[in-house]
Symmetry: C2
Subunit: 389 residues, 2 copies
């Protein structure tokens, strides 16, 4: 019932009238964030391939591509199928391949979706070849490169790199290029280290591609990306494509990294005060980890934001008021330790907005976005999110 | 498509054939866990009011009540509405009241659901009275008592206690009793401290009720509960009702507390190996925090289980193999630091089962339970979960 778009005649609701907890999306901030990175990449002649794992919403994708579908990245095949249903055709599935995903991905390819997959072993290349033959399509694959020891992929110098490329060719698949992700950049905060992480990501990717090219593999695409390195990269020579996801919404972790201000954070959780304990310096709200997620990504940063930073209903931050603890449906608001600020006087029934640590995790706890404009309390639309695998 | 029950003629799938990540529910363990606490409470003459916030499934509720609906606890009004649609009538909404929830709760009451609500202030009592008058029903409320400083509620000695009861009466509502939750028990692990926490929960609840009774308020129900204290309580004199939720499934946090063995944990996440890095001692699987949740509840316990403990596809634990790191759709398996065990040889495509830190959080990341029996790899049913607020 709540998952409807209210643009078509239905009376618009006010933010203050929403049942809580509820996810709000400030579309002015969203558009500003989208424009910031797309302008940056356009100026460098690099294709931006937004990662839809954060938003998981066709409406958000249409904000990124107002003139029609463009290249996207997905984190699950359910996302690929969802965006394909909405007309997207150029996708990269940026999670390593398994037998069942190879088959499902090739069915999408058979249906006309240019879905590129990711692998880093000859075994996966063989699985992909078999799935391609079954579906009657020519697969298209990236080799995953590990630029910072973060997760998957081969290093640029790995002795297996050329063998994997050969296995892709032997499997009858096209090697579209190499793909890497500077995931370790999320742990940084000094601009010079972020610039260095971006340069490392670029240099490793280019080195891997040059090794492949020297071995006779064409390797046309060099795909890199993470929200921090996308914004801090000074030189993208050789890079053809940038991937990023959380840049659309930003969050407190990205604020701690130094990629955005709190005024750029486009998503927040609306909550209602359900208890007050001024004698203990705490206020109880109806947003716990079910609404905020269990993400504590700022715990390792210079400023620990608890489970989120608290704003008034219009979005103005209460200085040093954070969600200090969370249980399933309860959040406890308290002033950050060491702060001289006083607990605001918020009676039962008062509404607050909570900026999340990690937009990907918080948004995934909700079925839809309640879309608002800056400075307005009207819910202009409700945009559903997809989920699952 | 996956949210169907496969009991009615559809061919049963095998665990190994499931698309991953997927949530598995071992119904033999579920029934054993349900029986354990219901027998314990029946022997003590205490009503068990299971908290449905963990399972959020009518099929699981029907396992708890095979002969028809009984008393339940809910954490959201969406849960209350869902279980009401499935015939449940006796419910306690165990989250503090706000104006919008008071109205919605009274609409349910008007529809014939004996929904009891929770409050700890005269303001909430007044809101409840207004909502009751609007709906044309007599509200029924618990006063929340704080037994251990965990979250909400008044202490048993709070000078406001009698005033809140008077406000409930003035609002034209029935005071059904007092309710408390020993939430701090989740942080314990020594049996004697758990017994003491249960006794404290009981004693505080009884003391609060006695104060109310001495002031002329009948206060028939004394409702206590948390999974640890429900299992460790030695004396429940005066208590009329026990609430618990995670006991149905158990999890690694409850194992760390000492309430269950790993063989009692009824839910697990099936995952597929998508990369191997034996030279680094790690294995990559397709279950990240989206499938496991960001819950790190064991981090504060004696044994840190990372994001989960890894078993083979039949459920046998790989000694000391944990999910050491998680990103959105990637989990990294590694042997626990300091262990002498070797990394198992798991090729790409191999399946594993991951026991979760926190069943409430992990299950909430999934749309349905794939139901299995111990020792069988047949998916016997698919039970949908409800979500939202």
């Amino acid at each position: 019932m709540r998952a409807t778009d209210i643009r078509n005649g239905e009376t618009a609701a006010a933010v203050g009238a929403l049942a809580t907890p509820a996810l709000l999306l400030d579309k002015d901030r969203l558009h500003r964030n989208l424009d910031r990175l797309s302008s940056r990449m356009a100026a460098r002649g690099v294709v931006l391939r937004p990662h839809m794992k954060t938003a998981k919403s066709i409406d958000v994708a249409q904000c990124a591509y107002p003139s029609g579908p463009g290249p996207i990245t997905v984190s699950t095949l359910a996302e690929a199928e969802y965006f394909a249903q909405h007309g997207f055709r150029d996708m990269t599935y940026a999670v390593g391949l398994a037998p069942h995903t190879a088959e499902r991905a090739m069915r999408l390819r058979k249906a006309g979706v240019d879905l590129k997959v990711l692998l880093d072993s000859p075994e996966q290349a063989a699985m992909l070849g078999a799935a391609g033959r079954t579906a009657g399509v020519t697969p298209s694959a990236f080799i995953e490169i590990d630029c910072d020891g973060h997760r998957g992929g081969l290093t640029a110098e790995d002795s297996k790199l050329i063998a994997v490329a050969a296995a892709v060719a032997d499997a009858g698949a096209d090697l579209v290029g190499i793909l890497t992700h500077a995931g370790e950049s999320y742990g940084l905060c000094a601009p010079e280290t972020l610039v260095a992480a971006a340069e490392n990501e670029r240099a490793v990717a280019v080195a891997a591609a040059e090794r492949l090219r020297a071995a006779g593999h064409e390797c046309p695409v060099i795909s890199v990306g993470s929200t921090p390195t996308a914004h801090f990269a000074e030189d993208l020579t050789g890079v053809t494509e940038m991937r990023a996801g959380v840049y659309m919404f930003f969050d407190l972790v990205m604020h701690g990294v130094g990629v955005c201000t709190t005024d750029d954070i486009a998503v927040s959780v609306l909550a209602t005060v359900i208890g007050t304990k001024p004698e203990r310096g705490s206020i109880l709200v109806d947003a716990g980890w079910m609404a905020l997620s269990r993400d504590r990504g700022t715990a390792a940063q210079r400023v620990d934001q608890g489970y989120g930073l608290v704003c008034d209903v219009a979005g103005k931050i209460y200085p040093d008021l954070i969600v200090s603890q969370a249980s399933q449906e309860h959040g406890i608001l308290a002033i950050r330790p060491g702060s001289a600020h006083a607990l605001p006087n918020l009676p039962i029934g008062a509404k607050v907005r909570i900026l999340p640590n990690h937009a990907c995790a918080t948004a995934s706890q909700h079925e839809l976005y309640n879309v608002v404009s800056a400075g307005s309390d009207v819910i202009e639309a409700r945009w559903p999110r997809m989920r699952g695998w």
